[in-house]
Structures are given as structure tokens and as C-alpha cells.
């Protein structure tokens, strides 16, 4: 259903949801937007968070020998690029990883859709900020006006709120169309066929990459982990495929060189996942580039003319 709310009603919506869910949201820490527990709607600051909300579903470093039923959580302020990451990851891990699955089922993400392109993101190259998959999707399209797409599962929260009119919906659709027109497009389609195994890019990147892991840790679609036994516990920790130890085996390392590891990351994103799951493992959030201390550009990997190197 599509609803139309004003700011006051948004606060009411928050109240209703927070009665049933533990509430989290984006807050402002001295100019940085980050996810945190919130107690009231006023604390919420909408903006691009410094890291994706991945941890709500995949623990940064957790003992996997104990499974506890997760609390029901509601996370306000999730950007479309981040939310989309979960829907893409679902194809690989939902139903297989019990921790992810249980949390996924118990978490509702309240997606706030950007109405203006951000400085570096390129989500419109992946379809733009208005998503087909969502639980509750909020578009603050005018000062006091919110258009909300809500899955019917959450109908009860919207009792008494008015449904959106055709005009309102078309206003939002126009806004989204303009958004997509304004943002520079990168030709993602077909990258799996254009990208080259022996491209000089990989060596160029290897020369400057300092193996900080930021591109993995900041990515809303990177889900790889490592398992380690520490005493009685078995920890699952976020891993980085840029590190040599990621693929090291007792028989050696199939990706000994940094260049081959960097290439692997892009091939996983743009070739392997596409071929096996039908989707690119990228949402255009550009965090991997924003957080890269040596400015390795994911957009360059997409735009690069592999045939004329």
C-alpha cells in the first residue's frame, strides 16, 4: 500500500513501531552519521551513514556456537543503496546462514529514499533509489510530506493514515525520474563480458593498495567471513579478500599476488555473482571508493575501456 503522511504522523508511526520493536536509527555524532539505539524519533538524523547497516544481520565478530533468538528490531534511516545490499545478499545466504536468516526475519528496515543524488554514489546506474524490494519505504518528497510504500505485512502500523493520491504518487515518480536523470550514469550492464582478466588495472591498483580492508568492511554486499576457534568459542569475523590470508591454504595460496586478489574482488562483484545469482554484487553506494585511502575507483572498473588498454 502507498500512504501519505506528514511529519507529525511520521512520529506517530515511529511510536507504533517502537512499541513492538527495539528501535535503531541513524544519529549524528559530530557530523558523522552512524547507526545507534534511539529512544525517540527526534534523535533520528537522515543522511548517508558512515558504514552500512550490515552488522544488524551479520555480526562483526561473533561466537557461532551459541544461537540465541534475535530481538525484533526496527532500523530507521536505511538508505536505498544499503537496503538493496540485503536483498542481493539474500540470494546467497538467506535460508542457509541461520544467524542471518533469523535476524533478517526479525528486523524491519525503514528505508529513507534519497531525493537528491549524493556527491559520489551512483545508485541510478543500478536502477535508482526507489526500490522494488522493501519493507517500509519512505520518500520525504516535500517539506512536510512523506510518501510511504509499505509491504502489507506492516499494514497495522498505518491504520488511520491516509492513502496516497495519484497526484502525490506521480509527483514522487517524477522526482525519482529527475534524480536518475541528474546522476551521472555508468554503464554497468554487460560489464561481466567487458571486464578483462589481464587488464592492467589490477597491477596499477596493486601498486597503491595498502590492504586496509575498507572496501570490504564498508561494502553493503560483502558477506565473507573467517572462522576461528578461541578457547571454547568459535568466532565468525568479517573478512577481507584483499588480504593474503583470505585464500591461503596448506597447499599454498591460489591468489598469492595482491593484483589477483584485487581482481577477484571485482570479478566477484561484477562477473561471478551476476552469472550465478543474476545480480551484480554492488549497489552503487561508492563507499569502497569513499573509504579507500588511495582512491581506487570502482567506477573506473565499470567505465574502463578494456578493449583499448
Amino acid at each position: 500500500m502507498i500512504y501519505s503522511l506528514n511529519a507529525e504522523e511520521m512520529a506517530q508511526l515511529y511510536e507504533r513501531i517502537s512499541k513492538e520493536f527495539e528501535t535503531y536509527g541513524t544519529v549524528d555524532i559530530q557530523g558523522d552519521i552512524t547507526f545507534s539505539r534511539i529512544e525517540s524519533y527526534d534523535e533520528l538524523r537522515i543522511g548517508r551513514s558512515d558504514k552500512p547497516p550490515k552488522e544488524f544481520l551479520i555480526g562483526r565478530n561473533e561466537n557461532v556456537l551459541v544461537f540465541t533468538e534475535p530481538n525484533k528490531k526496527a532500523v530507521f534511516g536505511v538508505m536505498s543503496c544499503d537496503l538493496k545490499g540485503f536483498y542481493i545478499m539474500d540470494k546467497q545466504i538467506y535460508g542457509k546462514d541461520p544467524f542471518y536468516t533469523a535476524r533478517r526475519d526479525n528486523t524491519v528496515f525503514i528505508n529513507y529514499v534519497c531525493t537528491e543524488p549524493c556527491e559520489t554514489g551512483f545508485c541510478s546506474s543500478f536502477g535508482g533509489p526507489l526500490l522494488n524490494d522493501y519493507q517500509i519505504q519512505v520518500i520525504n518528497y516535500e517539506n512536510d510530506k512523506y510518501l510511504i510504500y509499505a509491504d502489507d505485512a506492516y499494514k497495522s502500523f498505518f491504520e488511520g493514515f491516509k492513502q496516497a493520491s495519484k497526484e502525490e504518487i506521480s509527483k514522487v515518480e517524477k522526482l525519482m525520474h529527475n534524480f536518475n536523470m541528474k546522476q551521472k550514469k555508468h554503464e554497468v550492464e554487460g560489464i561481466e563480458n567487458r571486464i578483462k582478466w589481464n587488464s592492467k588495472l589490477w597491477d596499477e591498483y596493486a601498486k597503491i593498495c595498502i590492504q586496509c580492508g575498507a572496501c570490504n568492511y564498508s561494502c553493503p554486499t560483502c558477506y565473507c567471513f573467517d572462522l576461528n576457534d578461541v578457547g571454547e568459542e568459535r568466532f565468525r569475523e568479517w573478512d577481507s579478500c584483499i588480504l593474503a590470508g583470505f585464500t591461503k591454504t596448506s597447499a599454498g595460496n591460489p591468489r598469492e599476488s595482491l593484483a589477483s586478489r584485487l581482481r577477484q574482488r571485482f570479478y566477484h562483484k561484477f562477473v561471478y555473482y551476476k552469472k550465478s545469482k543474476g545480480e551484480y554484487l554492488c549497489t552503487g553506494c561508492n563507499r569502497c571508493t569513499d573509504d579507500c585511502p588511495v582512491d581506487i575507483e570502482i567506477k573506473e572498473v565499470i567505465d574502463h575501456d578494456y578493449n583499448n588498454e
Binding site: V27, D32, I210, D226, S240, L243
Partner: protein, 670 residues
């Protein structure tokens, strides 16, 4: 709610955003920080697990004939105070030594040195001795201030980067990445390093010189600059003194002659000298490759010479950047946790220390203090009876550790304050459990002099307490002071003690810090030092004569070993080796050996070898690589399994007393 803190590893001082514990735990870089602009390295991302380790110390422990028994804080404080007082009564205050820590806050270091001095001794020192004591002494001698002259941000204005003795991308990754970003834009990069470090690969010029020949190399660069008149005459005339004497010395170092010593082709020296001197502003970066030598202080002064004669000081984008190792080694040195300096680098024998007598309401010791290595030496000789050590692990990190161990074993009373039961703590009579940097309040000062705040985001485990709390209690129990109410009160006393800190307040250094000097004249702090004059007035040019390192190869010990850190671990590994990811990347000690050397000795990659020096022997796995040139081997010092410092002798720089960690003659046997 999440809070801003500072990464506890290197001296870059990256600001991090740390969530509360009941939230998903992952840190991110603080985007508002002028230091790291939201970026972090792998240690920042995955290296903070140690704070939550089950191995943390959680209550005070007393060593009863080899068994540690749990005691209460009251008993621990009583015991520490009584023992120290009793030893002072019996043997005098100079029979006790205090060792502070560059991992601890400014407030804690200030309090530790105050404890020593009010107790009655200048026997206060810490690990800065083994890293940048030559910087403090060298640059204070030539410029008047022993710190980086510019800011990390100012590197945007640099046209030539000269890296000598710093593996910047591994040891100060965020500064290293900043250099990479600038070089990508077309800036020039000169690297002088015996190893083929990452920056060497990107460099316009890589001078792969022999360890310990820095003076010859720097003099040969100045030879070219003098010969071709590439120096900044106006700057030399108006801002420096001693140019003629310096010229007399450096003209002896024709690159054709020095190439015999350094192994660097004369053409490379010419090209490097011309680039550095003419493609200005130029900035020099150095770290342990310059300082950890018997001529460490002279190396630093020679770096200063080079910058001075080319006018590469006092301007945006130019300068000298001694890259500080520990997160707070700049601060711990500023606080005067050094044998020869009171807070603010006031010499122990100067009249100016009167101000501390007043501030602390105490008489001050008249005797020169012992430096770190001397403390253990004198302990072995029986002159030092007790050591109170905070947050260091000398049984791994000091040179000649066999002698350190002898010293510790000979102590009457040994107090160790740490977050873990380290190799060193295991030898203590009294172990005091401390809080980590995520669990306490205070300030750190980074490598660009930026004073930044940290906050108690988590509760310490068990009964562990912040270091300031422990020192505060023991100090007041010994009647050295009236108990402080908290870190802010100590911070405010620091502002009185150190003029360069006087303008900093808790409010104005948050959320982003400010760079000292921050005082009446510079209320907003100071990004670039020495813009108009030097604290000394004129910059002093000091001619430096080349002398060979303390050790050289002979028929038996035929390879030169140099030591250092790797990217994934930190010092004695007590923190990083608890991070599963970091440990996976570098799980065991190794020796890097050139393939030709390995071939000659019939050593295969991955084989266990014995490494023997004139001082000791260890067994370690060989990593055959051409990152090191023929004739040179490298061993990181993180690993307690094979402590490389068993091989390092006790050859000290006569000025700063830093041991020569970087040049040790060894033989490698399969």
C-alpha cells in the same frame, strides 16, 4: 550512543567512531577528522578486539613465590606505596626507577613523571628512548622543537616527498596513503631505504643504501646541493647559522666516494639532490631507520641540515616529519616522561625547572636520571632496587634482552601495570590491571602535535582501573600529592606546566584536536612551525662526520640484520596478536633473506634457520624474498617465540642512548 575516540596503534592518531557495546561492534573512521578523513588501516578496522579479550587482567595480583594471588586494590596500593617508600628510605630515591608508556594518555604520563620527580629521582623514562629520543634531542638542538614541523593536511602542498628510514605505508598507513595519493597526482617521490618497500616501487628515485650509512648518504646529497648551488641562499643567510662549517664538511662527500660506503650510484644521488632542492616545497619523512643507530641523533641533525639549507622549513608543504611510532609518543615525550626533560622539554639541569618546584610544591632531584636501557643495566648491577613500569613489555622490545632479564631478576620489587599478563608482567612482584584506551578519559597527542581526546566508552573488565587512577592513588598514598579528582584536573595542571599546551581546553580540542603550540599567541593552535623564526632564533647547521655503525660484517658474521615491524602487528604483539585476522596474516616470526644469500647457504623458502649474532641466537623461519638486497636480512620484533632482540647488542648512541636496533652483524645457518 557511539563516540569518537583515537586509534590506539600508530602515531598518526586516526580518529575513530566507536559504537557502544550493546550495538553491533565495528569501528569506522571519523569523517570529520583532519587527520584521517574517515579512513583507517587494517589495524584500525580489525585490531581493537584485544580490548574485549578474555585474557585481560581483571584484578590486582601479588606474586607469592612464583604464584600470582588475587589481592584487593587497597592492599595493592598500600603494598606498592610502602615498598617504594621503604626502598627510598633504605637506599635513597635514585634506587627506584619509573617507566612510563607512550600507549598511555598525556595525563597518565604527566602523573608518572611527576611521581618520579616528587618522589625524588629523575629516573623516569619510556619507550620513546628506543624510538624518537634522537629526534627530541637532535631537533631541539638544531631548531628548538623536537616535533613534526607541519601537518598531515599540509602534505597537499608538498611537491617532493623524501622518505628515509620509514616504511610509511606499513607503519603509518594513513600518512603513507596520503603520500601515494599525492604522488598519483604527479608529485615527486624519493625513497632511501635498504629494503624495497612499497613506496620504493612508486618512487621516482630509490636509493637502496646500506644500513647505518645515513650520514654519508645525506652528506653526499648536500655535496651536490652545495656544488651546484641549489641551496636557498636567502634562507641560509636570514634564518640559519653555521653554513660555512657545514660546507667544509659536506664537500668531502663526493657521491663517487660515498657510493663505496652507501652502495648508491652517484647518478641517483645527483638526481635526488636536484629534485629535493629544486622541486619545492619538499618534505622529509623519517622514522626508526634514522633514529635507531649509534649515530641516531647525528642522523636527525643531518636531516635538519638538509631541510635548512634548502629552505624547506616553515612553509606549507615543506618540513621535517619524524613519524612517531606509538599513538601517544609525542605526548608522552611532551609530558617529560624522559630522564633529561621535564614537561615541555625543559632540561633537568636548567634553572627553569624552578617553576615545577612551585607548581608541585616540592623539592626536585639534583641528579641526572637513568635512561631506559641504563635502568635495567643498573638493576643488574644492584643499584636499582625497584622499578614501577606502566604499559611496556621490555622483555620483547628492548635491545639486549638477556641483560634486561638479568636486571629484572635482580630487582627487590617490580611493579608492572598493564592490560595483559605480558612476558614482562609475569616477572613482576605486583601486577596492576589497567584499562584500555576505549575505557578511559584523557588526551593523546599525535605525530603532527595534535592533542585529541578519548572517552570511557566501555567499562573496564573486572576491577581493572585507568592508569591515571592507579598512579593517582599510589602517589597520594605516598604523600606526593593530594588526590586528583580526574583526568581533567590533571590536564589543567599540564596546561600550567607546559606553555605550548596552555591554550588547549577540553572544549576547544573536541571533536577534532588542535596542534600545539596552542597558547596566548596561537589560540587556535599551530599548523606549521617555524614560519618566521625558530625557537632557537636561528636554525643551527651542525656538520656531521660519517662514522661506521657499531657492527660490521666479518668472515663469520657475514650479513647485516635490520629489525622493525610488519604491517599487521604492533610491537610486542600483546594487542594485535589477539586479533584473529591480523594474526592469520602474520602468524609467526620470520627472517627476510635475499634469494642469492639463501641460495649460497642452501636455504629454502619456509625452512627453519638459526640466526646468530655476537650477542645471541634464535631459530626462525626463512622468507626468501628480493624485498631485501643481497647482504641484508630483516626480522620483525613482534614475536615472543623468537625474540630478535636477543640478537641486538647494547651499542648506544652516546647522545640519546638509543640502542642500534638497525645494524647487527649476523650469520644465518640452515
Amino acid at each position: 550512543m557511539a563516540q569518537i575516540s583515537v586509534c590506539p596503534y600508530c602515531g598518526t592518531g586516526c580518529q575513530i567512531v566507536v559504537p557502544e557495546k550493546d550495538e553491533p561492534f565495528s569501528v569506522s573512521g571519523y569523517k570529520g577528522s583532519p587527520v584521517n578523513n574517515g579512513k583507517l588501516c587494517i589495524k584500525g578496522y580489525t585490531g581493537l578486539n584485544y580490548s574485549f579479550s578474555k585474557e585481560r587482567l581483571t584484578y590486582p595480583l601479588f606474586n607469592e613465590n612464583g604464584n600470582f594471588i588475587r589481592i584487593s586494590w587497597e592492599d595493592a596500593i598500600e603494598l606498592a606505596a610502602n615498598k617504594l617508600l621503604k626502598i627510598r628510605e633504605e637506599f635513597g630515591p635514585d634506587s627506584v626507577a619509573f617507566q612510563s608508556s607512550a600507549k598511555c594518555t598525556n595525563e597518565e604520563n604527566y602523573l608518572m613523571q611527576k611521581m618520579a620527580r616528587v618522589f625524588g629521582t629523575n629516573n623516569i623514562d619510556h619507550c620513546a628512548r628506543s624510538c624518537h629520543s634522537p629526534t627530541a634531542l637532535g631537533l631541539i638542538n638544531t631548531l628548538g622543537t623536537g616535533a613534526a614541523t607541519g601537518s598531515i593536511k599540509s602534505l597537499e602542498g608538498t611537491n617532493t616527498f623524501f622518505i628515509i628510514g620509514s616504511n610509511t605505508t606499513e607503519q603509518h598507513p594513513i600518512i603513507g596513503s596520503k603520500i601515494i595519493s599525492e604522488v598519483k597526482k604527479g608529485k615527486k617521490l624519493i625513497v632511501a631505504d635498504p629494503r624495497k618497500i612499497k613506496l620504493a616501487e612508486l618512487a621516482d628515485i630509490h636509493m637502496q643504501f646500506r644500513p647505518g650509512t645515513d650520514v654519508a648518504l645525506l652528506n653526499s646529497l648536500m655535496f651536490v646541493i652545495v656544488k651546484e648551488k641549489l641551496y636557498d641562499k636567502e634562507f641560509i643567510d636570514s634564518r640559519t647559522e653555521g653554513f660555512n662549517e657545514l660546507r667544509e664538511e659536506v664537500i668531502k662527500y663526493d657521491p663517487i666516494i660515498t657510493s663505496e660506503i652507501t652502495g648508491v650510484e652517484p647518478e641517483l644521488v645527483y638526481e635526488a639532490a636536484r629534485t629535493y632542492a629544486t622541486n619545492r616545497p619538499s618534505a622529509i619523512f623519517y622514522a626508526m631507520g634514522i633514529t635507531q643507530h649509534i649515530h641516531g641523533t647525528e642522523n636527525v641533525m643531518n636531516v635538519s641540515n638538509l631541510a635548512l639549507i634548502t629552505g624547506n622549513l616553515g612553509k606549507y608543504g615543506s618540513g621535517i616529519f619524524p613519524l612517531r611510532g606509538q599513538n601517544n609518543v609525542q605526548g608522552s615525550s611532551d609530558m617529560g616522561a624522559l630522564a633529561e626533560f621535564y614537561p615541555g622539554y625543559i632540561r633537568w639541569d636548567s634553572d627553569k625547572i624552578e617553576k615545577f618546584a612551585k607548581l608541585w610544591n616540592s623539592t626536585l632531584p639534583k641528579k641526572k636520571g637513568l635512561t631506559l636501557s641504563e635502568m635495567f643495566d643498573k638493576a643488574a648491577d644492584g643499584e636499582i632496587k625497584a622499578i614501577y613500569l606502566m604499559g611496556e613489555n621490555p622483555l620483547i622490545t628492548e635491545a639486549n634482552i638477556a641483560r634486561v632479564e638479568e636486571g629484572i631478576d635482580n630487582l627487590e620489587f617490580f611493579i608492572v601495570q598493564d592490560i595483559f599478563m605480558t612476558l614482562t608482567a609475569a616477572k613482576a612482584d605486583l601486577v596492576l590491571p589497567a584499562a584500555s584506551s576505549l575505557e578511559k578519559e584523557g588526551t593523546f597527542t599525535n605525530t603532527e602535535r595534535r592533542i585529541q581526546r578519548i572517552f570511557p566508552i566501555y567499562k573496564p573488565p573486572g576491577e581493572a582501573k585507568p592508569d591515571w587512577w592507579i598512579i593517582n592513588k599510589i602517589g597520594s598514598r605516598m604523600n606526593l600529592w593530594k588526590e586528583y579528582s580526574g583526568p581533567e584536573e590533571i590536564f589543567n595542571e599540564i596546561r600550567e606546566a607546559i606553555y605550548n599546551y596552555s591554550g588547549a581546553t577540553y572544549e576547544n580540542i573536541y571533536p577534532v584536536g588542535k596542534q600545539w603550540p596552542i597558547n596566548k599567541e596561537n589560540p587556535d593552535g599551530t599548523e606549521i612551525l617555524h614560519t618566521r623564526s625558530f625557537p632557537l632564533g636561528k636554525g643551527k647547521l651542525v656538520p656531521i662526520k660519517f662514522n661506521p655503525p657499531s657492527e660490521s660484517v666479518d668472515g663469520e658474521y657475514d650479513l647485516i640484520m635490520t629489525t622493525g615491524r610488519n604491517y599487521f602487528h604492533w610491537h610486542s604483539g600483546t594487542m594485535t596478536r589477539l586479533s584473529q585476522i591480523l594474526e592469520r596474516e602474520a602468524p609467526e616470526p620470520y627472517i627476510e633473506i635475499n634469494s642469492e644469500d639463501a641460495y649460497e647457504r642452501k636455504i629454502r623458502n619456509g625452512q627453519l634457520v638459526n640466526v646468530k649474532s655476537r650477542h645471541g641466537e634464535i631459530r626462525i623461519r626463512a622468507k626468501v624474498t628480493n624485498l631485501v638486497p643481497k647482504g641484508i636480512v630483516f626480522i620483525p620484533f613482534h614475536y615472543k617465540e623468537s625474540r630478535v632482540n636477543l640478537l641486538v647488542g647494547e651499542n648506544l648512541d652516546p647522545i640519546s642512548k638509543i640502542p642500534e636496533f638497525k645494524v647487527v652483524a649476523v650469520k644465518v645457518m640452515p
